[in-house]
């Protein structure tokens, strides 16, 4: 079966001019197909997060062209792409601390102006996702009261709330201990598989990378497919 192209990056480059000129990404080409999981590994400071932010349209590349779900980022409003096609999972969770677990998960739906009242499809989906991440009993807890592992589960549910095509995860277990990291890795992979989502994860964690379909290495601004694992 032919899988459709979810993300296509051509000749992506990124230069920082201040404080000193630095070319952090050079001519990166990347094609990501639907339903695959991809790990991007590299040393600290190699530009993994920058690349992920560029792929997630949070940052513009200095050069190159990016297409997400066949839509060119140069002509499509970026917030529309983020709203409908991309879900983010951050290392620092980035939850709204004064909102409840349920409100945090419903946030992308609210931004997309979907009805979120009890009984609405978005609400039902949020309940289902929270059930799948094992937080049914924490629906009305304020985010600031949750543990690190629970917070990361909420971000996974939030990333899936709008049913996006692409999930971008930046060190999803970076702030967790080994036992929790292990659980989160499996949850993340299982859920993306279960919902047929495409996952790109930036990580140092070899265990997580080994669970993905493909691994890319970022070194000196160049992205190369790791041939050791697949």
């Amino acid at each position: 079966m032919n899988k459709s192209l979810v993300l296509s990056a051509r000749n992506i480059g990124k230069k920082f001019l201040t404080p000193t000129p630095l070319e952090i990404l050079k001519g990166i080409d990347l094609d990501i197909f639907q339903g695959t999981s991809t790990a991007i590994m590299g040393k600290s400071g190699e530009g993994k997060s920058t690349l992920l932010h560029i792929l997630g349209t949070l940052e513009k590349p200095t050069e190159g062209e990016l297409e997400i779900c066949q839509q060119k980022t140069s002509i499509t409003p970026l917030h529309e792409l983020r709203k409908h096609h991309i879900g983010f999972i951050f290392q620092a969770y980035n939850l709204l601390e004064d909102y409840t677990t349920l409100d945090n998960v419903l946030l992308p739906a609210k931004i997309a102006r979907q009805p979120t009242h009890p009984g609405s499809p978005a609400y039902q989906r949020a309940l289902l996702l929270l059930d799948q991440v094992g937080l049914s009993s924490r629906l009305h807890f304020l985010a600031k009261l949750l543990s690190g592992g629970e917070k990361q589960r909420v971000t996974i549910a939030r990333a899936l709330c709008n049913d996006p095509d692409l999930i971008l995860a930046d060190e999803p277990s970076g702030n967790l201990d080994h036992a929790h990291s292990h659980a989160i890795h499996h949850l993340l992979l299982e859920l993306t598989k279960h919902h047929c989502k495409t996952l790109i994860v930036v990580t140092h964690d070899r265990e997580l990378a080994s669970l993905c379909d493909q691994i890319f290495l970022l070194k000196s601004g160049n992205l190369s497919l790791s041939d050791g694992i697949l």
Partner: protein, 674 residues
């Protein structure tokens, strides 16, 4: 709405955001204060303007139709002076209206007209144009379309008023003084719908004075000997008093002398009243009960079944003769429960009053005659504005309230003096008048010197006197009232068109209240003051709203991470800007609500606040002559509209600057730094 819910969440004070909460509270307080100040000021100034307009248009009418020079030089006006059927006398507009014929001149009966006498102006049917009757007919037709429209003719005149101020002293002695003033006379505007509001209500003081006057005849009193003031004839007094007492229910009276003679029946049995008994050694002269029990006394008075007894300091009871008078010292208040008026009333003393009074903390009940008592509390029946003596040979007139403040009372009598030229000399004529009431002249052109009189008075004086030379184009005309004074310009245009179509436009000049010479400057000043203060208010509001800019800038810095998260979730820049725009508008609206509530409370208690200010200042905070008895306390709808539009708008503008800052944040940078 998602943005609004986020904005409200941001504005709710939290412990972690103490600085933001404090600045936010301060901003709201400052804007609320400005809103409060603006609403109170604008409401009061609008209320004052409305009151003034109300008074101005109640007497002068919002629309005035006056004859032009063309009218006075026309055949129609001048012909009466040459016509025997008009008794060779020029007619006023009121007389022209009631005249049977428009052209009273008869070639057979009257002398030939002078050579340069203006010719009659005729309409297409060849009849003499009657501008007065036509104007009234057009107004009557307009009234059918606009039922709230009323109109009448008015006339101004002048005379010397002389009032006799007859007064009764504490010891029943008479005194009198005279008040003389050259006055303008204006016909009473009966058609004015607001006339009754201008007439001041009568007071107990007026009632006492009228009761006093009812038993005296003033027309024969001598200026040099008030003690010779005669008592009125019994029939007349009977009629006057019965008429007066039917206008009100007397509820409370007070003694007029410092010692009030207490009828024996009032004292309850077996109760001792500390008293001072005076004797000449052998017999008692009188017994005085102090109203207060703590006053020094030389014994006590007690009533038993055998009569009155005086107990001296040694406890010895001495019987008192019924001829020894018993007084109560100091003014006493007598609550009237019933009043019996005999059919043939000879004097006030014939009226029996039943009620109670309090002496030395004891309630004394009984019946006593109306003697040395004055009314202090009365309930006036339906229309307290018209308690006057039944009109006799004098004419009732209304004086400006300034006279009341200077001691003139209802019922005071006098005359209007004017000169009448006869064939041989100029003679003084006197027209007897009495004060039927007082009115608030507001901003009448001649203010306190204007007396409202029935129209026959002005007609009589104008027909015979040349003492007062008033501008004839202003002293006679038509007044037109309608409920909404702001329609004046519209009605003026309609009338001008209709007058033009009827061919009488050259006879009349139509002016609205905004064009009255005496009111024009004041009204313009009011308008300018209002605009000026609104401008100052907006500037203060802008300054106050600047607080919002600093608050929201702080909030944007504080909420950077959340903004980044929202942007990562797909929130557009516009959406982020709306969050902070809503923050500004919410603060503006909250301030409006707080400020408006405070203004409503202030206006509700405005009299108490003004009273407090007056006490603090040591004199009246606001001049009653200028601002009226009390400041207006109605919330101005215009002020509310102004505030509820301008404040949120300014707050929104203030919120836009931080909103733009929030839009320019890069989510990548924020989330990376977090």
């Amino acid at each position: 709405m998602f943005e609004l819910s986020v904005a409200l969440k941001y504005l709710i004070p939290r412990k972690k955001q103490l600085s933001v909460s404090l600045i936010s509270a301060l901003s709201v307080v400052v804007i609320s204060l400005v809103v409060w100040l603006l609403i109170v000021f604008l409401s009061i100034t609008e209320g004052i303007e409305k009151n003034w307009l109300h008074k101005l248009t109640a007497l002068n009418a919002p629309l005035r139709i006056t004859p032009t020079e063309h009218y006075y030089n026309s055949y129609y006006h001048l012909i009466d002076a040459h016509s025997s059927s008009s008794q060779f006398t020029l007619k006023t507009i009121g007389q022209k209206l009631t005249a049977h014929v428009s052209d009273p001149y008869s070639e057979e009966e009257d002398r030939e007209l002078p050579l340069r006498f203006p010719g009659p102006e005729k309409n297409s049917q060849g009849e003499l144009i009657d501008p007065v009757k036509q104007a009234f007919a057009l107004l009557s037709a307009l009234k059918k379309q606009q039922p709230d429209l009323t109109f009448q003719d008015f006339e101004l005149s002048g005379a010397l008023m002389r009032l006799q101020l007859l007064r009764q002293g504490m010891n029943q002695e008479h005194s009198q003084s005279y008040l003389t003033q050259a006055s303008y006379l204006s016909s009473i505007p009966y058609a004015s719908p607001a006339l009754s509001h201008l007439i001041l209500p009568s007071s107990e003081k007026d009632l006492n004075h009228l009761i006093y006057l009812a038993s005296h005849t003033t027309e024969y009193s001598r200026e040099d000997a008030p003690h010779l003031t005669l008592s009125a004839a019994t029939d007349k007094m009977n009629k006057r008093l019965l008429a007066l007492l039917s206008t009100s229910t007397i509820q409370e009276m007070q003694s007029t002398s410092y010692r009030f003679s207490l009828p024996e029946g009032f004292l309850p049995e077996n109760i001792s009243f500390p008293c001072i008994a005076r004797s000449n050694g052998t017999t008692f002269i009188d017994v005085v009960l102090p109203t207060d029990r703590s006053a020094p006394c030389n014994g006590s008075l007690k009533r038993t079944s055998q009569g009155l007894h005086f107990e001296d300091a040694n406890g010895r009871a001495i019987p008192l003769s019924s001829r020894v008078p018993v007084y109560v010292s100091g003014p006493i208040r007598f609550q009237v429960e019933d009043m019996v008026i005999p059919e043939r009333l000879q004097a006030l003393k014939d009226i029996q009053l039943t009620g109670k009074m309090t002496v030395q903390n004891h309630e004394l009940k009984g019946t006593l005659p109306w003697f040395q008592l004055e009314v202090v509390k009365a309930k006036f029946h339906s229309d307290s504005r018209s308690i006057t003596l039944p009109e006799e040979k004098e004419t009732g007139v209304f004086l400006a309230k300034h006279f009341k403040d200077n001691g003139v009372l209802l019922g005071d009598r006098g005359y209007l003096s004017y000169n009448c030229a006869t064939a041989s000399s100029v003679q003084e004529q006197r027209l007897p008048i009495f004060v039927a009431g007082f009115y608030d002249p507001g901003i009448l052109s001649v203010g306190n010197r204007c007396i409202l009189v029935p129209d026959f008075v002005t007609q009589t004086i104008n027909a015979s006197s040349s003492s007062f030379n008033l501008d004839k184009t202003q002293s006679n005309g038509l007044l037109v009232w309608f409920s909404d004074v702001h329609e004046a310009e519209h009605i003026k245009t309609i009338l001008q068109d209709q007058f033009k179509q009827a061919g009488i436009d050259s006879y009349w000049k139509i002016t609205t209240f905004r064009e009255y010479d005496f009111a024009k400057d004041l009204l313009q000043q009011f308008q300018s003051d209002k605009y000026l203060f609104a401008l100052v208010g907006v500037i203060i509001l802008i300054v106050a709203c600047c607080n919002i800019i600093s608050l929201l800038t702080l909030l944007v810095n504080d909420k950077k991470k959340e903004i980044g998260i929202l942007q990562a979730m797909g929130a557009s820049n516009y959406s982020v800007a709306r969050i902070f725009g809503f923050c500004g508008v919410c603060m503006g609206l909250l301030s409006c609500l707080i400020g408006t509530s405070a203004a409503m409370i202030t206006l509700y208690y405005i009299d108490s606040i003004v009273h407090l200010l007056s006490i603090l200042q040591g004199h009246d905070a606001f001049n009653t002559a200028f601002f009226g008895g009390s400041l207006p306390n109605h919330l101005s709808s215009h002020a509310l509209k102004f505030i509820f539009i301008v404040t949120p708008l300014l707050s929104l503008c203030a919120g836009l600057i931080p909103a733009l800052k929030a839009c320019r944040l890069r989510p990548s940078e924020i989330l990376r730094s977090e």
